[in-house]
Amino acid sequence: MEIKRRDFIRIFGGASGAVLFGGCGLDEVFKLPDHLVEQAQKGPGVETWLNTTCGMCPGGCGMRVRLVDGIPVYVRGNPLHPVNRGGMCPLGLNALHQLYHPDRLTGPLKRVGKPVVGKWESISWEEATEFIANALKDLRKEGKSHEVAFLGHDERGLMQQHVARFMKAFGSPNYYRFSATQNGDTAHALLHGHPRQPAFDILNTKLVLSFGANFLEGGYSPVYYTKLYSHHRERGTRYIQVEPRLSLTASNADRWISIRPGTYGALALGIAYIMIREELYDADFIRNRTFGFENWTGHAGVKHLGFKNMVLGNYYPDIVSEITGVPSATVLELARELGNTRPALVIGGQATTDSTNGVFSLMAVQSLNALLGNYDKEGGIYFTEDLPLASLAPVQQDALSRKGNDEMPIGLSDENAFPLTSFSVESFVKNVLADRPYPIKVLFLSGGNPLFHSLNRHDFSEALAKIPLVVSFDSTVSETSEYAHFILPNHTFLERWEEVSNVPSVNFAHASIQWPVMTPLYNTRHTADVLTEFAHRLGGSVASAFPFKDYVEEIKHVMKGVYHSGEGAVVSEGIQHLWMEYLKERGWQIGRYASFEEFWNLLLERGGWWNPIRRQNRRQRMFQTSSGKFEFYSQRLKTTFDKLSKTGSKETSYNAELILNKLNISARGDTVFLPHHEPVPYDGDKPLHLITFQVLSNRDGLSSNLPMMQEMFGYSVRRFWESWIEIHPKTASMHGITDGDWVWVESSIGSLKVRAKITQGILPDAVAIPFGLGHWSSGRYAKGYGVSPNSIMRNLHDLLSGKPALEATKVRVSLATK
């Protein structure tokens, strides 16, 4: 840390950076537009509470906003909302800080000059939209509509449909959602035949074995899972956390099992070995509902290796212990405890998929659930009901859009890397730089901050700089939107309409409406409406794909489906004691409403609709694999590989080998298509694994621009506004590092300097750096604080899904003489 001006002044006793950024006295932390200030000063102080849905993360908690004279002053959880039952996480509580953020864009911007260094000039919506619409028109006229790409974030539900619709009508196959909650998708698709995130019935299970799923701190809905967790005492639920680091979840678990990063596929299979040997698995589920457990004979009488023998052949506990560093005795204990407890649940998290072998690892973890016959079972795994939403009229494509959609998507990987994904940032970047198969002329960026997260910053920024027209919808300038030519700022979630339904991994169907608790502070517009406007400016079939006056009407339209279905009910008065229990006792009678308007108003007033009752006739939809069963042996994977090897020459066997080598898949034969452990290609010379984790107060770096979240960043280790590296005392003393020292962390990519946190809570040959800080843009409170581990990560990806391999880098640490 170089000596800052403030230090200098402080030395001379002057106003040091007294309180937040600035001299002594009145420092302004947030911004309140003048008209609101007046409202606040003149107002009679009337208090109102409005229910909406938290939009700080996809967790989908119900939020209750306190307004005084129409000005939001405080938020709390909505006690009626089934997801969070009044609870909230630190991030959600900071919603107002995002609303009043001083770096918020107050209107559309146009960049003059080069990216990053250039100036931002404000521009009217009309000019901006017109200019962009024309660019789109021209492309379309030339029949190049496919040269437009839309890089979204984690928009779900209707918003996702809305964007997809726009792209389809316009005529481009290039709508991608960077990041967010899709890490498990590939593995799930292979095993279950559909990418849906399973929901875990933690409340009714007796044992939870989690492979690095940090569900109390991260996960899809931390508050939901915290609430479930909080009942562990009276429910007698036991938690076991497998993880190289003592995360918040691990520290709350009854037992923490430390493991070498990137190896818990192996551990899972080691456990499977014992369960199979000692026949601790659910035989009839295996018999009736799974495919590829026993050896089997395919068409043309080809003999195939089954999961059982593959495991028995390769995952003897001692071998597993070799790979994972978990004592074979422990493997044994785990297996027996798991096999002898019913119901028992196995959870895999992002971390499971955070290495080059991610998909295979998660497959291995999930197959334990199959062995336990956990699917669609109390205390097991469910796939949450889809909502009975009304569908939008299908898009009428004209010739141009049909042509455009038929083009090869640019997100596809070059040749045959990442065979199982339609999009990986890595491929996208490569393709854009190489104009392969065609150049990208227009790029839309919505949400997300992909450049900040990229493991390949250099290429990514080149790619962004190369695209002639980049349009971002961010509400504040982020690392990524620095490269935009136009920024058309979206409202913050407190100012906009959004339909939020079925948060992944939540155990029941639910829908909430996010609605404006106030008129927008600034001259911002809803991204959905902006897209609609583009469509209307483009006219023709594109326009007619968007018949609704505005996005609200569209939301109302789909919600009518829910109303008419007569299922579920708008949430009502909360119950003090265990709420899920309560519903079981009491059964569920369906809400009745005189009219849709009544339903709709009630929905807004109460903040949510839900339906905890499952229809029974869902068996067939459970697994959508070609066998209709849980596939230990993934036929989809097999066919994909066959396709790959067919392409080009005839002799497939040779080709197959070639491809396996290309993908660095070490397994051969049927094992390739079974859950198995793929060794991670670490660079040998570095001794320590670098792992990262996401803290509750900072979601993916999303909240790095919120001062209070920056302060809270390391609340559990008393490190405020800064990153730290967790080192085991043994490792530390080996390098003469003591708590609080500055250390250099060096990988083959680069090195960074960060302060040490000595802790017993980490694998001795691993170090952990929290993820989210280290911004070089994204506003005054984010820029220049902490470090981003991604900046020294090798640009590795999951072999199959192309997802960044965040746990596959090794490093060396040394004491920095500051």
Binding site: F21, E28, V29, G86, N94, P222, W256, G761
Partner: protein, 228 residues
């Protein structure tokens, strides 16, 4: 007279920190400059005490949210030269910001390090609008502050109750931290009221108070399988 008390169930608490943030938002507690924070001047009315026990791989982490304990026999108020911190008729230990001369004697005297100090003029929400929550007054440089058990909420509830002349119901007066806790780990209520939750819980076999031996009679109880 009511005896307001808090019970925190450490077996439920996950250590998520939401209570700390809810408290900061509710009570307009400033976020201090990063360098100040690095110099141990952060301001939490609800603090978080994290302790590691045992050796790898058998490590036990204890996370303990810590508000002011509103001691029934508070050592902090005894030493105040000007009565700027005192135990009010509700049994809450309060601060009078406008009287405090900033000697920090009460901080020194608090065995639980529950108080924080305004080393600089606290920042304001925005130039011409000083605080988020209008019910809680903004503090000034040079005075001590701490958890108030959200006394401003009590005032409102009391008005309500008296206007309907009745006792304050259990669960009616709930501080921000208790209200927000995603694990429902924080209970709040009247120790004198045998029907209240805190009455039962404070008598649970899992209940204990920090440093009972000091005899300051904290009114915050912790529930834990492992006796604290």
């Amino acid at each position: 007279m009511a005896k307001w008390a808090m019970v925190i169930d450490l077996d439920k608490c996950s250590g998520c920190g939401a209570c700390q943030v809810a408290c900061k938002m509710e009570n307009n507690i400033p976020v201090v400059d990063p360098e100040e924070a690095a110099r141990d001047r952060v301001m939490f009315w609800m603090d978080m005490i994290t302790t590691y026990e045992g050796e790898y791989p058998n490590v036990q982490v204890r996370r303990m949210p810590k508000p002011c304990f509103h001691c029934d026999n508070p050592p902090c108020t005894k030493v105040c030269p000007v009565g700027a911190t005192y135990k009010n008729e509700e049994g809450l230990v309060a601060q009078i910001y406008h009287r405090c001369i900033g000697c920090r004697y009460c901080m020194v005297a608090c065995p639980f390090t529950a108080k924080v100090y305004n080393w600089y003029e606290p920042p304001v929400f925005s130039e011409n609008h000083s605080t988020f929550n209008p019910d809680v007054s903004k503090r000034m440089v040079g005075v001590v502050e701490k958890c108030s058990f959200c006394a401003h909420r009590l005032i409102k509830v009391k008005e309500q109750a008296t206007s309907e002349d009745r006792r304050i119901r259990d669960d009616e007066y709930i501080p921000a931290c208790a209200e927000i806790c995603p694990a429902d780990a924080i209970y709040f209520g009247d120790l004198e009221d045998p029907t209240s939750k805190v009455y039962d819980l404070s008598r649970s076999y899992r209940a204990s108070r920090v440093m009972e031996d000091l005899g300051v009679e904290p009114k915050v109880f912790y529930l834990s399988k492992r006796v604290t």
